[in-house]
């Protein structure tokens, strides 16, 4: 099994904080990895590094055998946790934008996804609700035939019905020659799709492994393991 993502002893320091400390993990091709942890645990920083938006302080990162940069941006489809689309764009113009810059953008798939999401190409991003923008962003990201999908809190603005529609669409479109890394707080709804799970706390990996193996070993769901792992954090907050 080939590894699409290989991270070794990755550390990322900002001026006053250490966002990631000695993180080592691998993501095999065809796998969906859940990146879990409380706020401020380093999930977004790790995803930004994979997307080529932030440089690591030390350690090694390889995406499809190449260090993050211009080359990997062409094969990584990144969904940030905020609306990254310009408000003046219509949904169709956003599709044109992606088609112009990413050679792996599949317009037919985009139209199919828009149908599923009940969006039309003429709708302006600035006039859409938060949930609708989220659907448009997901449609764009999944219309790319990328090697790696990096999704940071992809279901935040979606209602339960839309969430289930999106999840079904994603799983139906998932290919075995790509991989996906998802960070989410809605673990119960998504955990059945995870092949691998990584738990981060204060920038460190505190637990990782195959999801099924973890469930069997710990006798609990991934959400249960999460509660157990971060119980001290919740207690501290109280």
């Amino acid at each position: 099994m080939s590894m699409l993502v290989q991270i070794g002893s990755l550390t990322k320091r900002y001026v006053t904080t250490t966002a990631l400390s000695d993180v080592t993990l691998e993501l095999p091709e065809g796998h969906i990895m859940g990146l879990l942890g409380p706020n401020g645990s380093g999930k977004t920083t790790l995803m930004k590094i994979l997307a080529g938006l932030v440089s690591p302080t030390s350690g090694s990162v390889l995406v499809d055998g190449v260090a993050p940069g211009v080359e990997t941006k062409a094969v990584v489809s990144f969904l940030p946790d905020v609306n990254h689309l310009d408000r003046w764009m219509s949904v169709g113009e956003a599709g044109d934008f992606y088609a112009d810059f990413y050679t792996d953008f599949d317009r037919k798939r985009f139209e199919e996804l828009l149908d599923i999401m009940r969006l039309t190409v003429g709708q302006k991003i600035g006039s859409l609700s938060k949930g609708m923008v989220e659907k448009a962003r997901l449609s764009l990201v999944f219309s790319r035939r990328a090697r790696l999908y990096v999704l940071d809190e992809p279901f935040g603005g979606l209602d339960p019905l839309a969430r289930s529609q999106v999840l079904d669409a994603l799983v139906a479109n998932f290919r075995t020659d790509c991989s996906m890394m998802v960070s989410t707080q809605m673990i119960a709804e998504v955990e059945r799709f995870f092949d691998d799970v990584v738990f981060l706390d204060s920038g460190r990996v505190i637990l990782s492994g195959e999801a099924e193996e973890l469930r069997t070993r710990r006798g609990a769901s991934i959400e249960g393991i999460y509660r157990e792992a971060y119980g001290h954090v919740e207690t501290r907050k109280v």
Partner: protein, 146 residues
């Protein structure tokens, strides 16, 4: 890089349209103001000079506004949410920076062409203006004594 410039221009089409309509309206207003001055025998040439000078001042304001918008847009791309879109593209940093410089060149050309168009329109609508300001422009250019 050119594609990025094209999208930026597309995003600014409304802004450019509104800006150029305002400048067109100001040119017409200045022309009618000059015609009004000419019909009033009490007016002198220095007052007429105010017409092209005011117009030039408006075009400088237009250029300053466009430059500020360029700076704000680039700052938003660097530190705001749209940065994920721009810097997530498989483009080199030089291409992104180059697109911003090209936009500045477009704004400069638009201002220069717009300014020249204003002069031509003023000269057509207010034919006496060119003759009235010629001695003053000549004096300024030849002696710097204005």
């Amino acid at each position: 890089m050119w594609k990025l410039v094209r999208y930026e221009l597309r995003g600014r089409r409304l802004l450019y349209t509104i800006g150029l309509i305002i400048m067109g309206a100001l040119t017409l207003y200045q022309a009618t103001r000059f015609i009004g001055m000419r019909e009033n025998p009490a007016q002198s040439a220095p007052v007429s000079m105010g017409v092209p000078l005011t117009m030039a001042f408006f075009w400088v304001l237009f250029y300053v506004a466009m430059t500020v918008i360029n700076i704000v847009t680039y700052t938003q791309d660097l530190y705001g949410d749209t940065g994920y879109l721009v810097f997530g593209l498989p483009l080199r940093g030089t291409a992104i920076l180059g697109s911003r410089i090209l936009l500045l060149v477009v704004d400069t050309l638009m201002t220069l062409l717009g300014g020249m168009t204003s002069v031509i329109v003023l000269a057509c609508l207010a034919p006496g203006l060119a003759q009235q300001i010629r001695p003053w422009v000549g004096r300024f250019l030849l002696t710097g004594d204005y």
